[in-house]
């Protein structure tokens, strides 16, 4: 009997006991009617071949293991970054259960959003009544300061008119006439979660900036920062605020989830915490400039802001030395304030760390997958450390993104063997990893299946990370963030060296104490 009260064993050990191995073997032999072992082994080998890769890359209709979610996920995330705001998702209710679970599994935090719970009758007659009752219930139960309305694909397919519905609901007293209820159409069959982020931020700005009673824009010295969809938002937004503090500037982060996604365990559940206030959103209209830290999370928002007369800048996930330099130079240029000495010191420390460790990184080949800006930013950081980004893949990546990454690769001799794969998925990447192997892989938790198949070590640095805890609390942006990213990469490389040299009596020679 495998189980013992003295030391209870769970799935990690239980199923390796002989009693269980026996039932697995008998189930397989007698009841599963699977394929012979040799056939499975033959096909497994074939999936690693150049021939298979070609077949795999000729796919036109099937997507397997993509690095993208649908628009509403990004829109929910964006909405949650505003003070007291509850996302209200108009459409089928299962979607909201999915977004909440997904974000919760990454951040290990509660995630609150509501649904208008449309069912078959609403599919036929439209979801107006769901909106009317739903807004009233949300308002009474959860007492938000703002309800941000967005859509699932069901509501989009039947063509529900959000703006009209919200006006209707206000006329039925579901929520007060002056209660903020911005909206965004977020069809799941257009773009991905990065698109949804863009649509929601734009919807919220538009609601306040173009309100009938909104004051005309009077430019001030303000700076707005749009962080974009980011699995490290807690650490990164706090790092941004620290940087603003050192500069002595009052920049506004538009959509700041860093508090609501990092509440304390002190006996009280906070449905809302922190976030960009409505007053800040209104004032942001007067800012002289807006910087988006993730271009692909904000194309429409930036174009809207530019039309208002602001100077707009788009960056691509400021990780590493040069990308942080660029961000700080822009801040200095916009504010007229010099880059603080403290940050110059931090820069030097990051360069010091890279210099100390470059021997382990130089020339190492990497695959990188994730969102368009994250993969771009991480590739740039690798290049400046002398590593070689080889396969850069983003299912949300467009042709434009591919060109942009190619330009980056072309700018460095270390980019010579690199290529960007926009619109491709992790099954494509599997073929690439077999036919053109790399030393390390940077991606999200789903990369663990690729790691299992290819034995290429995975460094978890993109969203979502479900199987490691708390990394999102540490920044990846700025020089401090660069240091964190460097250490995460180095730790994996050094662990990998140890794992390959730890056979006593055989590889004692490279199992070095000092590296």
């Amino acid at each position: 009997m495998p189980q013992n009260p003295e030391k209870v064993i769970d799935h990690l050990q239980l199923f390796r006991e002989p009693e269980y191995k026996e039932i697995f073997a008998s189930k397989r032999a007698n009841f599963e009617f699977g394929h012979p072992d040799e056939e499975v082994a033959r096909v497994a080998e074939w999936t690693k071949s150049e021939e298979y890769k070609e077949k795999n890359f000729s796919r036109e209709a099937l997507t397997i293991n993509p690095t993208k979610a649908c628009q509403p996920l990004g829109a929910v995330f964006a909405a949650q970054g505003f003070e007291g705001t509850l996302p209200f998702v108009h459409g089928s209710q299962g979607c909201v259960a999915y977004y909440r679970s997904h974000l919760t599994r990454h951040f290990k935090e509660p995630n609150s959003a509501v649904s208008s719970s449309m069912t078959e009758d609403a599919a036929v007659f439209g979801g107006l009544n769901n909106m009317i009752d739903g807004l009233a219930n949300t308002y009474s139960l959860y007492q938000p300061k703002m309800i941000a309305v967005l859509t699932t694909c069901m509501a989009e397919v039947i063509g529900d008119d959000l703006q009209g519905f919200i006006v209707n609901a206000k006329n039925k007293d579901s929520i007060p006439q002056d209660f903020p209820a911005p909206h965004a159409h977020t069809p799941a069959f257009v773009g991905s979660h990065v698109t949804g982020y863009d649509n929601m931020v734009k919807g919220i700005l538009n609601y306040f900036w173009d309100a009938p009673d909104a004051a005309a824009r009077v430019e001030d010295d303000g700076i707005n920062i749009i962080p974009g969809f980011d699995g490290y938002a807690v650490g990164n937004n706090r790092e941004l605020k620290r940087i603003f503090g050192l500069f002595g500037i009052n920049a506004t982060i538009i959509s700041d989830v860093s508090d609501v996604f990092d509440t304390p365990t002190d006996g009280k559940f906070r449905l809302y915490d922190g976030g960009t206030t409505i007053d800040q959103v209104k004032a942001a209209k007067n800012a002289k400039a807006t910087i988006s830290l993730q271009e692909y999370c904000s194309p429409q928002t930036l174009s809207y802001i530019k039309d208002k007369g602001q100077d707009v800048t788009k960056l691509n996930y400021p990780v590493g030395v040069a990308a942080t330099d660029e961000f700080l130079v822009k801040l200095a240029e916009l504010t007229g304030k010099p880059v603080p000495a403290e940050l110059t010191l931090e820069r030097g420390r990051l360069v010091d760390a890279i210099a100390d460790s470059h021997t382990h990184i130089h020339g190492k080949r990497f695959a990188i997958f994730g969102d368009p800006d994250t993969t771009y930013g991480l590739s740039r950081f690798l290049l400046e450390m002398g590593a070689e980004p080889v396969h850069i893949l983003s299912t949300s990546g467009s042709k434009k993104w591919e060109k942009q990454v190619q330009k980056l690769l072309d700018s460095s001799p270390f980019g010579a063997s690199g290529k960007a794969y926009g619109g491709k998925d992790l099954w494509h990447l599997r073929s690439l990893l077999f036919t053109d192997p790399v030393d390390y892989m940077i991606g999200n938790s789903y990369g663990k299946y690729l790691e299992r198949d290819t034995k290429i070590p995975l460094i978890r640095l993109t969203y979502p990370i479900f199987d490691r805890h708390h990394h999102h609390r540490y920044p990846t942006w700025g020089y401090q963030g660069g240091l964190n990213v460097l250490v995460r990469i180095l730790d994996k490389i050094l662990d990998d060296m140890d794992n390959h040299t730890n056979i006593a009596g055989e590889t004692d020679y490279s199992f070095d104490l000092i590296r």
């Binding site: 189980q3 089928s92 299962g94 999915y98 679970s101 599994r105 009233a136 509440t263 006996g267």
Partner: protein, 481 residues
Amino acid sequence: MSLANEQTKEATQALIDEVLEAYPEKSRKRRAKHIGIQKAEAKDCDVKSNVKSIPGVMTIRGCAYAGSKGVVWGPIKDMIHISHGPVGCGYYSWSGRRNYYIGVTGVDSWGTMHFTSDFQEKDIVFGGDKKLAKVIDEINDLFPLVNGISIQSECPIGLIGDDIEAVARNKSAEIGKPIIPVRCEGFRGVSQSLGHHIANDTIRDWVFEKSEPRAELETTPYDVTIIGDYNIGGDAWSSRILLEEIGLRVIAQWSGDGTLAELENTPKAKVNLIHCYRSMNYIARHMEEKFNIPWMEYNFFGPSQIAESLRKIAALFDDKIQANAEAVIAKYQPLIDGIIAKYKPRLNGKKVMLYVGGLRPRHVVDAYHDLGMEVTGTGYEFAHNDDYQRTTHYTKEGTLIYDDVTAYEFEKFVEKLDPDLVASGIKEKYVFQKMGKPFRQMHSWDYSGPYHGYDGFAIFARDMDMAINNPVWNLTKAPWA
């Protein structure tokens, strides 16, 4: 009813009224019907169930797609399940449920992969049938060992008028493998539940109707199946081991670690054993009518229920099996005595509030009782009235019952009833931990498990102790606050 009971009941009713006060009147009246207090000798819980959730209240429920792809079909390991429509549904349900299986993923098994037709605007406008046909070709081409394909419809499919049945028929004839079209669009029904039913019906119509059990499978008088066990954390395995130990032969697992052949061979069983009644009673009833196969519900949570179930199952067979069952119960008794001796003193009298789906809001109650714990509140995400009828067997008079509870209600109920443990899902976990409440996820076993069977009970007891008695809960108040 004693005076103390009467007073408790009044207090609980006052709590319900107070919590419902927050709703607008129309919703308050609707929600009031879903919340009740268990009466003495009641036949059911006297709560309304299986009706639409109220909009805007933060229901914890999912959808029909989740019930079909996520629960019933998804775990069948030697088939590829296409999330047909936009990319999200398959993405969010990708490899999250811990339906353990053994196989070479990507070669002869696909359980932890995500296949989607990734609908774009043009597919919505012009229809997705052609794309679906191509998706099937590409699957068959890249994964030649796939034994069958299911098409899991997402919301748009039913709204744009696609004919996935025609595609399934044509393509199945072409590639010579079963293709099962499932109309589990998320807007159908009121929860996951209709998705289970629809998925069951597709097994009836597209598996049983179109294939025969494998001739090679020789039958014995002891052939049974495990139906409604999704092998979360290995549950079906720690159940199977007991059934085999008493001398039965498990010819199919539905659907955790299951294969298409196991589904096809099920009509050869002598008895279908049902764990999750809610999600798979439909197919059991069908097989009873069509093939004369009796079915029986059992409960493998906690030693009291396991022993009772083993005896009930054995009673359907001969003396030899009955004697084996007694021997197996006796064999595990020292383990159980040891577990209870170790953990009961640490858990005795602790109060639990549950909110889960399927069978667990009732099935786990006696496992807690075995550890000396008390269940003071329970509720289901997607139960029907027959679930509530089965609940009173387990719960005690005065238990607070909440159907399709909202995040607001659950938070308030826990705040006021102050249990020692909350056992629910991932969306609830961190809410209650912030409040300083020990919590266990009872969908995924909080990444632990298995919890079924005797081996599983030991883990269950260990985990409940870990949750309640971890010293972190003494740290939530700063000394100066």
